[in-house]
Each structure stands twice: as C-alpha cells, then as structure tokens.
Amino acid sequence: MNCNLKDVAREIRCDVIHSIAHLGVGHIGGCLSVVELMAVLYFEAMNIDPKNPQMEGRDRFISSKGHAGPAVYAALANRGYFDKSVLLTLNQGGTKLPSHCNMRLTPGIDMTTGSLGQGFSCAVGAALGAKIAKDGARVYTLLGDGECQEGQIWEAAMFAAAKRLDNLIGFVDVNRLQIDGAVAEVNDVEPLADKWAAFGWRVIDVPKGNDVEAVSAAVKQAKANLGGGKPTMVLLRTVKGCGMKWAEDLGPANHNVAVPMEEAEAAIRALREEA
C-alpha cells in the first residue's frame, strides 16, 4: 500500500486511545506498544483484502496476546475492514469488538485468543496449514513478553522449528512490564534472543520497536526468510503505553486501567501537534 507508515501509526494510536477512553477502561499499555507493528503489518507487509476478509491464501495475523485486540481493531478500521465509528463500540455489550480477539465476531480477525500461550500454537497450526495447502501464505503472530512465561509458548516454539515452518513470523512485544510489575522481577524471560535462537528460530532484535521504519525493515528481513527452513522471531523492544505520556508514566499499572477522556484528548492533541 502506498502510504506514509508514520502517519498511519499516528492514526491507529489516536484511535486506540480514543476508543479505550470512550469506554473508559482498557488494556491501553500493551495496545499502544504494538501500534507501529500494526501499521507495518496491515499497511505494508501482509497479503490481505479488506473487502474479502476470508480471502483464500491470504496472510494471517494472530495476536496471541489477545488483549491487544483494540490495537488490531484500530488497524483494521483504518485499513477499511469496517467503519471507524464501530471502534466506539469497543468492549461494550453486544459489540463486534470484544476486549480479546474473536474470529467469529470481527471481520479480519483470524483467530480467537485471550488465554495466553494458546494463540501462538494456533498460529503454528495455521502456518502448518499453509504448508500443507502449499498456498504460499505467511502467518504473523504477536506474543507478549510476559506471555513467554507460559509453558505452551515453548512447546509451540519447539514444534515450529522442528517442522521447519519458515512461513511463520513471530513478534514479541518486549515492553518489559506485566501486571504485577517488571517482567525481570516477576519471572524474568530474558535472554529472549538466546532462548529463541536455542529453540531453532532465526532472531531479529529490534532495539527501537516503536520506530515504524525499524519495524518495517525487520519485517522485510523476516519475509526474506521464506525457504530458509527456520521460523523467525522478531523481538520488538517497545515502551508500554508508547505515545501517551500519561499511560507511560503509570508503569505496570497501565496494563488494564481506567483512561479519563481528558487525558486521552490531551494525548491525541499532542500527537497531532507533533505531526
């Protein structure tokens, strides 16, 4: 798609902040940390068709950290899967945009996720499906760094490498925070690069995970890996709550929190002024 990824990311970020503040509460931190990835995947990397969300042979995206739903929805709406006004129904009774991703409710959502660890295995299954179908599709999947504490992640990591699923591209949102505090203090998952490499993955470490150009370059590098026989894991070193100072300053408390509309409006104003 011909567009300025930085502008796209800003729009997605504003929509995430606005939709969560409109409801009044949500997983603001871990949604804002992955905004640049959403922009790159949905506006540059993936072979998809918003007019035909179920297109055969399309690339898939599965957010194993299901609570990043609002970030995915903002990307889908900006990409034209549904009207932006739908974003304001986020997580309200009867909505098509629940807190955690649901493949039966939302056009463009490829898998139901929310129980951490499972979506990654589902993505591995989809990548295996693409291999069996020989349709050339790639599967992209997003994990949280806290989520890497789930044992199932490593079961799936082992399998994907053993079965040579080089059409699978994973991302860890390394924002270094989880609900109870710093990941390093709760139950340290580092060194992630060494762990994924030891499990047989090709690892791309992106120190600036909220720099849209750095993310774009990493995804291009990962895509070139098809045929290499190894799945790729991209470690995105991000900031939880990125782009909304109020949320960033909350630290671990920004995981799932009440978001006042005035803070949201101030943040959106600041983002627009920056542009």
Binding site: I62, N102, M103, R104, D110, M111, T112, T113, G114, S115, G117, Q118, G119, F120, S121, C122, A123, V124, G125, A126, A127, L128, G129, A130, I132, A133, G151, Q152, E155, A156, M158, F159, A162, K163
Partner: protein
C-alpha cells in the same frame, strides 16, 4: 478386532478420501494404532511429541485454516490436561477438531490412577458446543467414524483401545444423535455407554430370570444426549439406572439426571463412586470399583423397589 485397529483403519479411509483431513499425535501414535498410517500420509500426520496443549491449539489453528484435524492421546491428556485449550482454542470459536481420548476410566488398567479418567466426561461436557461419543464395540465404532467426520464441530471421542465384546451385529443402523435400544423392557430403563455395556446386558438377562424386565439403552452420544428416547423409556418403565465407566459425578449419570429433571422417576447409578482409580487388569478393577454385572443387578433391584408409585 481391537478398537484402536478399527479406529486407525477408518481414519485411514477418511485421510484417503479427504485431503483436508489431518492427524496430530502426542507421542502415542503407536499406542493409538495409527503409526502405520504415517507412511501413507506423510504430509498430513504430525507428531507433536509430549506436548498436548500445543497439539490441541495447533489443531485449532489447522481447523481455522479449513482443515479437519483429529488429535489423539490418552484420555487424561486429551481432556483434563488440555481443558482450557479445548474450551478457548477449540470450542469457543466452534472449530472442527476431533479429540480422541483413548483408554478412559478403568480401561487404562496397568497405567493406574494417573491415567484413569474418572472425570473426563464431566470436564468436557460442561464446555459448550462439544459432542461426546463413546463407542461400545467394533461395529458401532466403524459406523460412527464417518458420522463423526461429517459432523462439523468439536468432538470428543472417548474410546477404549482393546477388543470389546460384540453388542451390535450386521445391519446395525447407526444414528449419531439417537440412543440405541438394545433390549426392550417394562420395569426399568438402564442407560449405559462404553465398555460396561455388555455387563449391563448380562445383568438385564439375569434380572429377567427373576421377573424384572429391563429396557437397555446404549447412550453412545452423551452430549447432546438423546433426551427424547430416555424420557419416553423412563415414562414407560418408571425407574432408571445408569451404568458407566466414569465417576457417578459429572458423567452419564449426571447427564441422564439432567435429562430427567422434570420426570418423577428414581434414577440410580452404577459407576465409580467419586474416587480415583488404581492399577490392575479389568477382572480386578471391575469388582474393585463397583462395575460388574452383579453391581448392576443389585442397583437395578433397588431402583425398581424405589419406584414412587410402589
């Protein structure tokens, strides 16, 4: 013929017929009898190793891609170990994954309590949207496999691996959603499933000799349960007895009780009395856990005596 051999043979036909059929295993291909299929379908059979949770969610991922995955392992790992994966990866999105749990309950024999699922039906039955089927013998399993394949949605196939005494014969007409009336009777309805079905039939024969006429229903599909047949029979006989290789909590007994909640009939149970299993062969385990023909006879007498209109 061992049920696992029947299962593998029928699964082979499904793999042959439909390129969308895929089989996943967790290091029990040998035990499940499907190891031989791997050479024939190298691109559609995958061993996940000892990692059942991953296997279950991979199955969901494949189903989301339009495939028809069967995932197999021992019953405890196919149910209680992957309960959340069954619920969230498979059933919540309603994905077409067939879960095969082998050697449920006392069928686990020498593997003992750790491998004996007394609760698997209860665990799975309380998850919305899954069909639970338990075969009695070779003929029924053979009839069921294409029906389970044709059914679109999550399935739990609860299957003993060994050879089972024949209950069904030639000309058996299988309906996935209908309980089979194995014997007509007027005094008591016996609802039974799985490997204790022959014992229930033998008990019905013994009871006939003492003047108690039993209707025996094989409830092969425990969810959704055939309420209609069970209620109609219970209304005719006025008393019900359930017989199962499972805890009396949460399994067939509970399902029949729920079906009969508005009926004025006593519902008695023969099953595992809320305890864990132990090691042993079936001739030891059946009496030790209260699952013999004699246990059925005794409970049947009590159920008949308990009829409210007596």
């Amino acid at each position: 013929m061992q049920l696992r051999a029947v299962y593998a043979e029928e699964l082979g036909k499904l793999l042959e017929r439909d390129p969308k059929t895929v089989l996943l295993d967790a290091d029990l291909g040998r035990a499940s009898g499907t190891l031989g299929l791997r050479k024939r379908f190298p691109d559609r059979i995958y061993d996940c190793g000892v990692a059942e949770q991953n296997m279950a969610s991979i199955g969901a991922g494949l189903a989301s891609y339009g495939f028809k995955p069967w995932i197999e392992t021992f019953a405890p790992f196919a149910t209680r170990r992957i309960c959340d994966q069954i619920a969230i990866s498979i059933c919540y999105p309603g994905l077409n994954v067939k879960i095969v749990g082998t050697d449920p309950g006392i069928a686990a024999e020498l593997n003992g309590a750790t491998h004996m699922t007394m609760e698997d039906i209860g665990v799975v039955r309380s998850i919305p949207g899954i069909l639970i089927f338990e075969p009695v013998d070779e003929v029924q399993l053979r009839a069921a496999m294409p029906a389970l394949d044709a059914y679109e949605g999550p399935v739990y196939l609860r299957m003993a691996r060994g050879e089972q005494p024949a209950v069904f014969g030639e000309g058996y007409e299988f309906d996935l959603f209908r309980a089979d009336t194995l014997r007509k009777g007027t005094d008591l309805t016996i609802c039974v499933s799985g490997i204790v079905t022959r014992d229930a039939l033998d008990a019905a024969e013994a009871l006939a000799a003492e003047g108690i006429s039993c209707e025996v229903l094989n409830v092969h599909t425990i969810k959704p349960i055939d309420k209609e047949t069970i209620i109609a029979s219970a209304r005719r006989t006025g008393a019900v007895l359930t017989v199962e290789n499972h805890n009396v909590v949460g399994g067939l007994h509970a399902a029949v009780l729920e079906a009969l909640a508005r009926e004025r009939v006593p519902v008695f149970a023969v099953g595992v009395e809320d305890r864990f299993g132990e090691v042993g062969k079936l001739p030891y385990l059946k009496p030790a856990l209260g699952l013999t023909k004699e246990h059925v006879v005794e409970a049947a007498r009590e159920a008949v005596w308990a009829k409210v209109d007596n």
